[in-house]
């Protein structure tokens, strides 16, 4: 059976440093951080009082959700997901059918956890004997698939509608799941992406694990420092990223604009064996995930021009660079460019992979490599593996980036790696 080629025909993004594609592209090219200090976290006795939260006005929300939907609404992940998803659909030039579901279009929209604020509100009411006061939308706002369910109501999918969840690999995984469905000929368009709430209830448990930095409360924009010698833990972020994946055949037949091609990718697990644990990756499995992604994409390590890393700004960053180096078989000056969007938006948890993939694809389409900020003091272990010029400190304008490898790794010892390619009409 011949497989279908898959391209990206629409995108949407809601990020801490930019809402909407234009504003986001401007922000990432100039190295603008979206990390801010929040007094609320200080009051709640958090160690890390900084984070990334998209700026969305009440007016903006009403462009996506109706006043009725916004009544008693308290699920940021769903809001961000709807915004990014609806924007991506519109950007792809696809219409919303008010009468019938589109049997060739589906939605795979992931989240790590969604609606935690709403859940907290509901828990409080239940514990005070007020279960009957929860109203009709608490289920929809707190179910894991809430985000894909809301998007379904907005767009009207007739193909698969589901939500994937694999911690911080969620966003990257959702793209691969949609890719495979189209590749197999089971759908023409799949809206993929992921979203994440912001706030104390989702970030608190990470704060308790001491994996977030407590050293930058007085200089928030310097806090997220992937690959830096002074990286002291990740900075939490939130938002959503979305893409419309489409068969090349379908995209061509309707004359759609094409951002890039998804060549392939791989997901796997380290099984929490050989050094892998609930929170740390099995290095061999990470390397295997990358090499499988290359293999399934029909390329070799030498073809990779740029790595859009997972790179969270913890002590694990040098290990990740080493895994890339081994998997690609490249080091020193021969190593490709590598950067981390988390330097500007923080670690958007379940939304990380999708927001970062939108950044990767924008770079391919518009011809730029965004800077990896706060890496002026590169970690010596990283420098032992690769040349310092591999990490762009400032935007590099270039149309020579043909292949970008994007990876995401998540709690539970799960990995996802995807290969994006500049689209060439042939």
């Amino acid at each position: 059976m011949s497989k279908y080629r898959v391209v990206i025909t629409g995108m949407g993004v809601v990020a801490p440093n930019g809402v909407g594609l234009d504003s986001f592209e401007k922000a990432i090219r100039s190295g603008k951080s979206g990390i801010k200090y929040f007094e609320e976290f200080k009051e709640k006795k958090f160690s890390c009082c900084i984070g990334g939260q998209p700026e969305v006005s009440e007016e903006k929300m009403l462009e996506y959700l109706t006043p009725l939907e916004l009544r008693n609404f308290n699920s940021w992940g769903i809001l961000y997901g709807c915004m990014a998803g609806m924007d991506a659909w519109k950007d792809a030039g696809l219409s919303v059918n008010d009468v019938q579901a589109d049997i060739d279009a589906g939605c795979i929209f992931g989240t790590g956890i969604s609606g935690v604020e709403k859940m907290a509100e509901a828990t409080y009411k239940i514990d005070h004997g007020k279960v009957r006061r929860l109203g009709s939308t608490t289920v929809a706002q707190t179910m894991a698939s809430g985000v894909s369910a809301y998007l379904n109501g907005k767009i009207g999918f007739g193909n698969q509608v589901t939500t994937n969840s694999s911690a911080c690999a969620t966003g990257t995984e959702s793209i691969l799941m949609g890719f495979e469905r189209i590749q197999m000929g089971k759908a023409k368009q799949i809206l993929v992406g992921s979203s994440s709430d912001h706030g104390p209830y989702i970030w608190g448990p990470f704060d308790a694990m001491k994996v977030m930095t407590y050293k930058s409360n007085d200089q928030p924009t310097k806090g997220s420092r992937p690959m830096s010698a002074t990286a002291a833990g990740f900075v939490p972020g939130s938002g959503a990223g979305a893409m419309v994946l489409e068969s090349l055949e379908s995209a061509r037949s309707r004359g759609a604009k094409i951002y890039a091609e998804v060549l392939g990718g791989a997901v796997n697990s380290g099984g929490q064996r050989n050094g892998g644990t609930m929170t740390a990756p099995n290095a061999l499995a990470v390397q295997r995930c990358i090499t499988k992604a290359l293999k399934y994409s029909g390329i070799t390590g030498a073809d990779v021009d740029l790595i859009n890393g997972h790179l969270t700004a913890t002590v694990k960053d040098p290990d990740e660079v080493e895994n890339w180096s081994i998997a690609l078989g490249r080091k020193g000056k021969d190593f490709p460019y590598i950067h981390s969007l988390k330097s500007m938006v923080g670690h958007c948890i379940g939304a990380a992979g999708s927001i970062e993939s939108v950044a990767a694809v924008l770079g391919i389409k518009s011809g730029f490599i965004f800077p990896s900020i706060n890496a002026e003091d590169i970690h010596e272990k990283v420098l032992a593996l690769i040349d310092k010029n591999c990490i762009p400190q400032k935007e590099i304008k270039t149309d020579k980036i043909k292949i970008v490898a994007k990876a995401g790794f998540g709690f539970g010892d799960v990995n996802a790696c995807i290969i994006f390619k500049k689209y060439q009409d042939d």
């Binding site: 009725l68 009544r71 008693n72 006061r133 109203g135 009709s136």
Partner: protein
């Protein structure tokens, strides 16, 4: 409270949920919440919660089940307020 006052009060409460503007404009005692106003049946529990808040009453499950017309809602509210 007069019937007119009650209808005016209920009209304000159901406004965010209605999906048929014409029926809403002419809303009267005989108006059906789902058939005429096209309120999503899942939203009926929200309408009832809003009625409870507005009149500071509590509506039990069996009363709730009957509240499908404006008339029925008025009867429930009047009876509760009278207590």
């Amino acid at each position: 409270m007069t019937d007119k006052e009650l209808i005016t009060g209920l009209k304000k409460i159901v406004k965010p949920y209605i999906q048929n503007e014409a029926a809403f404009e002419t809303m009267n005692a005989d108006t059906h919440l789902i058939d005429d106003l096209k309120i999503n049946s899942a939203n009926l529990v929200d309408v009832v919660l809003d009625i409870e808040d507005e009149y500071d009453i509590e509506i039990e499950d069996d009363a709730f089940e009957d509240m499908l017309t404006v008339k029925a809602a008025m009867a429930v509210v009047s009876a509760k307020i009278a207590k």
